[in-house]
């Protein structure tokens, strides 16, 4: 019985945590009017710079390859992927939903990065 009570408490706490971002998002109608943002990520010396970025929903991320070697931007779950980007090549993707998106270079899979999308 105490076990069930503890579980119910945990559930309630979880519901509160989940509700918080939703409240924050809905309380600011001005946020919806803000023009879509663009964030850039450089691909250089075989690394995504910055490796981890946190952006708001609706942000467009633009990757630019500054290396002499080609690279790709490929979601770990393949939900988005670029063609091979030669030197100076760009790829952009707009993140509409909140989430944690791991990606890598399918040519050099030790190159990994993350885009964390969350409302703030």
């Amino acid at each position: 019985m105490t076990h069930a009570v503890a579980a119910a408490r945990r559930l309630a706490a979880l519901a509160l945590i989940l509700a918080l971002p939703a409240l924050a998002a809905s309380s600011g109608p001005a946020a919806a009017a803000t023009p879509a943002k663009t964030v850039t990520v450089a691909i250089k010396t075989f690394a995504f710079t910055a490796r981890v970025i946190t952006v708001a929903p609706g942000t467009t991320v633009v990757w630019t390859n500054e290396d002499e070697d080609p690279h790709t931007v490929t979601a770990a779950d393949r939900s988005f992927h670029s063609a091979a980007l030669d030197t100076g090549g760009k790829f952009s993707f707009t993140f509409t939903k909140a989430g944690d998106f791991g990606y890598f270079c399918s040519l050099h899979p030790h190159m990994t990065g993350r885009v964390i999308v969350k409302a703030n």
Partner: protein
């Protein structure tokens, strides 16, 4: 037999004495799992060895990167042609040629066509494995397989025999996973197991693949994460020679009866493992470039004789 034993013993003594890299090339010999090297000059000066039957020569060319035109080598077409000319001028004609991948730089139709034209007329059949640069098209290898996929399985793996030596071509550049290294995959490993099943342990084996099948440098992805499964299948054979490209430099390693050798590129050098912030193309003064590019010949003599590898630069 005693002749062979004496010969290899005395040669081993010599090899131990002279081990190390020297001059424009190096000769590798593999006897009883011990690989050593002597200078190319010494190797060429050595008297011809007796063999039970006619020996043959095969050749390895790698990482032509047709289409690359950056500072590290603005003329990869020219250096590939220089390599072809070098091969054509060899006094000992190779029976077969192995291309260990990165034929092109960006997998475009033009680059594949150009590479085919440059590599035609070598005077021997060329067997290919793809590098990751050959699997860059939207079809993830469709362009490569349209040209080189005939008679192969899966993403291009295959095997063939030549004068008693079993050659195995593996693809470790397809369907790579985030955070990992090169990858062979379950389907290819299952095929390899079937391919080797009927062979006696005395069959000499030559495996060729693009990315090293041993971990050269994990931080740069220079290895194959499931190569252990392949090596487990190869361990029962008395002589296994594994040839690769990808890292654009000569490196070797021996593990029991298996010896691993990575070859030079004909396009541009890359830094030694960990010697630079990234594995990108290494820019050297243009007069030094030909010394860092090259081809490799391999000489097989039937019996207990080792396969001897001779690396020659384009200088």
């Amino acid at each position: 037999m005693t002749d062979h034993a004496d010969e290899s013993l005395s040669r081993r003594g010599l090899l131990t004495h002279c081990a190390g890299w020297a001059g424009a090339g190096a000769l590798y010999t593999l006897t009883g799992g011990i690989a050593s090297s002597i200078s190319l000059d010494a190797a060429l000066a050595a008297p011809p060895r007796r063999g039970a039957s006619k020996p043959f020569t095969f050749l390895q060319i790698s990482d032509t990167h047709i289409g690359f035109d950056k500072a590290a080598n603005p003329d990869t077409r020219g250096t590939a042609i220089a390599a072809v000319e070098k091969i054509k001028a060899l006094p000992d004609k190779p029976d077969i040629i192995l291309h260990t991948g990165d034929i092109t730089h960006l997998s475009t139709e033009e680059q594949f066509d150009d590479a085919r034209q440059i590599l035609s007329g070598l005077g021997a059949p060329v067997f290919y494995v793809p590098g990751e640069h050959d699997f860059l098209d939207e079809g993830q290898g469709r362009a490569y397989l349209a040209r080189y996929g005939a008679g192969t399985l899966g993403t291009g793996w295959h095997s063939f025999d030549h004068l008693g030596v079993h050659f195995i071509a593996l693809n470790n550049v397809a369907n790579l996973k985030a955070g990992g290294m090169a990858h062979l995959g379950e389907e290819q490993l299952a095929w390899l197991k079937r391919d080797l099943a009927g062979l006696s342990a005395s069959t000499p084996i030559v495996v060729f693949a693009h990315i090293p099948l041993w971990t050269v440098y994990e931080a740069w992805g220079w290895g194959t994460d499931d190569s252990g499964a392949a090596l487990a299948l190869l361990r029962r054979f008395g002589s296994v020679t594994v040839l690769n490209g990808h890292i654009h430099q000569i490196l070797q390693k021996v593990e029991g009866n298996v010896s691993f050798h990575s070859a030079r590129s004909t396009a541009y050098p890359q830094p030694a493992p960990g010697a630079a912030p990234s594995p990108g193309p290494l820019k050297v003064p243009s007069e030094q470039l030909p010394m860092m590019l090259g081809i490799r010949t391999a000489r097989f003599v039937r019996g207990n004789e080792p396969i001897a590898l001779i690396d020659q630069s384009l200088a």
